[in-house]
């Protein structure tokens, strides 16, 4: 079956522009995660959804970052007034597990969106 897809794959934004990054999780996956990976570093957690509920947004670096998943499937990560430090690869991952203790916990990662802010 289809894996996690993300679009666009590459995005160049001028400083101050707003951007929207899309994630299509694997069908039926309850949990959805966003991570930010700066060049040469490991991914860092941004936010987590269980269905449409955003249960953890502790990793969002500022109030310019906003994520939503209104129907419990597709998710959008929006960055307002982009800054150069926002340049990174944004990874989306999904897992089946409906709860933290469930068996189907493994996260499947999408290809990422590479954002460059000039």
């Amino acid at each position: 079956g289809a894996g996690v897809s993300q679009s666009p794959r590459y995005k160049v934004a001028k400083r101050g522009q707003d951007v929207a990054l899309r994630c299509d999780p694997i069908s039926g996956h309850v949990s959805l995660f966003w991570y930010q990976q700066a060049l040469g570093q490991g991914p860092e957690f941004l936010t987590y959804f269980q269905n449409e509920a955003q249960l953890d947004k502790s990793g969002l670096p500022s109030d310019r970052f906003f994520a939503e998943r209104p129907e419990g499937s597709v998710s959008t990560l929006k960055i307002q007034r982009t800054q150069q430090e926002d340049s990174a690869v944004y990874l989306c991952a999904s897992s089946y597990s409906p709860s933290s203790g469930g068996p189907d916990y493994e996260q499947y990662f999408g290809p990422g969106t590479r954002l460059t802010v000039t």
Binding site: G42, F45, S100, Y105, E106, Q107, F109, P111
Partner: protein, 113 residues
């Protein structure tokens, strides 16, 4: 706060030799993951280690977990060029909401002929 440290950060390997990557984490965690990332690509899952003493092997790669020492190792046997990539370990907050992953900084592996 859960912290994950890998070392070394960079590993230059000679083909045919054996090497080990270390992953230390700071608090109790029930699941440890190893991923491979090729340049410009996403994360490819290699291993999931679930319990103390767990050992998993796939080809030239073998991963082990010591939860008491909070240490996992990724052992590469007889390195070949195809293994050149960046390797990440990660742990999840299993008993915290959502299983969010905390990653190490990665080990960049370059296998030279």
């Amino acid at each position: 706060e859960l912290k994950v440290e890998q070392n070394p950060l960079f590993l230059s390997m000679q083909e045919g030799k054996n090497y080990t990557i270390y992953c230390n984490y700071s608090t109790t965690s029930d699941r440890l993951y190893w991923y491979r990332q090729d340049p410009g690509k996403s994360l490819e899952s290699l291993f999931v280690l679930l319990s103390n003493g767990a050992v998993k092997q796939e080809g030239r790669l073998m991963a082990s977990l010591d939860t008491k020492a909070r240490l996992s190792t990724l052992h590469i046997t007889a390195a070949v060029h195809d293994l050149s990539a960046t390797y990440f370990c990660a742990v999840d907050g299993y008993k915290a909401a959502g299983n969010k992953l905390t990653f190490g900084g990665g080990t960049r592996v370059l296998v030279k002929p």
